[in-house]
Symmetry: C2
Subunit: 244 residues, 2 copies
Amino acid sequence: MNSKENSADGPSQKRRHGYTEQEITRRLIEAIFEQRLPPGERITEAKLAEIFGVSRTVVRASMGKLSEIGVFKKTPNLGYTIAAPSRAEARMMLDVRKMIEPGMVHSIALTRSAEDLERLNHHIATEEAARNAGDRSTLVRLTGEFHLKLAEISGNVYLVHILTQLQVLTCLAILVHAESETGCPRDEHSSIVRAIAVGDGEKAAAKMAHHLSHIADELQLDRPRPEPSLESALQWLGGLGRAS
Amino acid sequence: MNSKENSADGPSQKRRHGYTEQEITRRLIEAIFEQRLPPGERITEAKLAEIFGVSRTVVRASMGKLSEIGVFKKTPNLGYTIAAPSRAEARMMLDVRKMIEPGMVHSIALTRSAEDLERLNHHIATEEAARNAGDRSTLVRLTGEFHLKLAEISGNVYLVHILTQLQVLTCLAILVHAESETGCPRDEHSSIVRAIAVGDGEKAAAKMAHHLSHIADELQLDRPRPEPSLESALQWLGGLGRAS
DNA sequence: GTTTACTTGATTGGATACAATGAAAAGGAC
DNA sequence: GTCCTTTTCATTGTATCCAATCAAGTAAAC
């Protein structure tokens, strides 16, 4: 978090405004996408306030909203951690996305403009560039943002809002549970765009449904242990205790 | 805003805490459901703080979150109003619900337990009672909560969250635009539950899709004027000016 | 050595004071 | 009277202070 152009602006020169709450929220989400804030990491109001050069009041509002949507886990009077979604939670968020996104691309396929296609193709080209360059953290961010771009193109503000939340959470789930942290698989995005381009809503929806299923597959099948829960950890410790 | 059972809970007994942020948020949403907070109403932090007997700090957090999800409209440095969704916004929120809720009931139809059906039937009976009693504000709240109950039964926390937001917004849209403010039409709810009861996911989804379309119809067809926008109003005034 | 009670430290929770903002009213010049 | 400036006022925005809470460590009792 080296965002201290702040440190150069003179010692006692009073900034009219520090970062605003929305800017802070945006930066935190960005940091998660780029894996600078790993799931499970503990984080305090005071620390963030210092980093952004504002009082706790402002970061508190931001962290409150991020907690509300499940990006931070907050335990009262204790503190915050970056969420580390369980497999069950990951499945739930992908279930919701499976309800939403196929319908969304179906709708888009029937209404898309030339400019929309331009944007989508450009985005996919950028994805490919990052993939070829081996820039993993950028790739994860971009593949996530693809889905948000679709929401924007749909023109539905509520979709943008909802999918932004779900996308951040999905990103965290992938970081926790997926083996290959490459974000969305290969070129499924481009096949979705192709279906949109020819106006085939059904096909676009089907492709999107498959795409989301593939993401879900990665989360559920990779690791052998079904759920490294606290319960099993305690059981393990108990067995150890008895053995020694 | 007559929600002062507060005045009954002991005169000078010092509450360790006043209302918590979540309680305040819940009550505000409840008040909207019951039409004690009409769309367009202006509302200030100080006023709410006084009503709930807490400082601005707490209500501010609550109002911030409500603004985030679009229930309040907030203009910086000026104030808040209860949202009065435009027809375009109403259409968008119902579009999203059409993407989500049919799939949701489809899923529920395949997994519902006897207890789930019990809860749903009980809720519908309560709805009917309110309808027969002519208790309109309770009816609006209950018909809205039916959809939330479904989300709860699905067991998906993200669905509960998302639909809670959309439901409140839909309620506001209905209050602004619908002719008959009776909430959800007749006994469409019970036909959905019947399909769920027999495990027919396809039928439940279809019924829900129709149900949501009916709500959308009410919002778009009732009033003659397509959109009483500021633009058209100015144009009208302009014409008047030239004519006089 | 184990348990209990107490202290301490770190962190959030909430209230208050003050600054910043913008709208509307008041005042003055022409 | 109209236009421009100034003042005032209501409201939000931010910082700071202190209280509340919980965990963990410490000391004392048995």
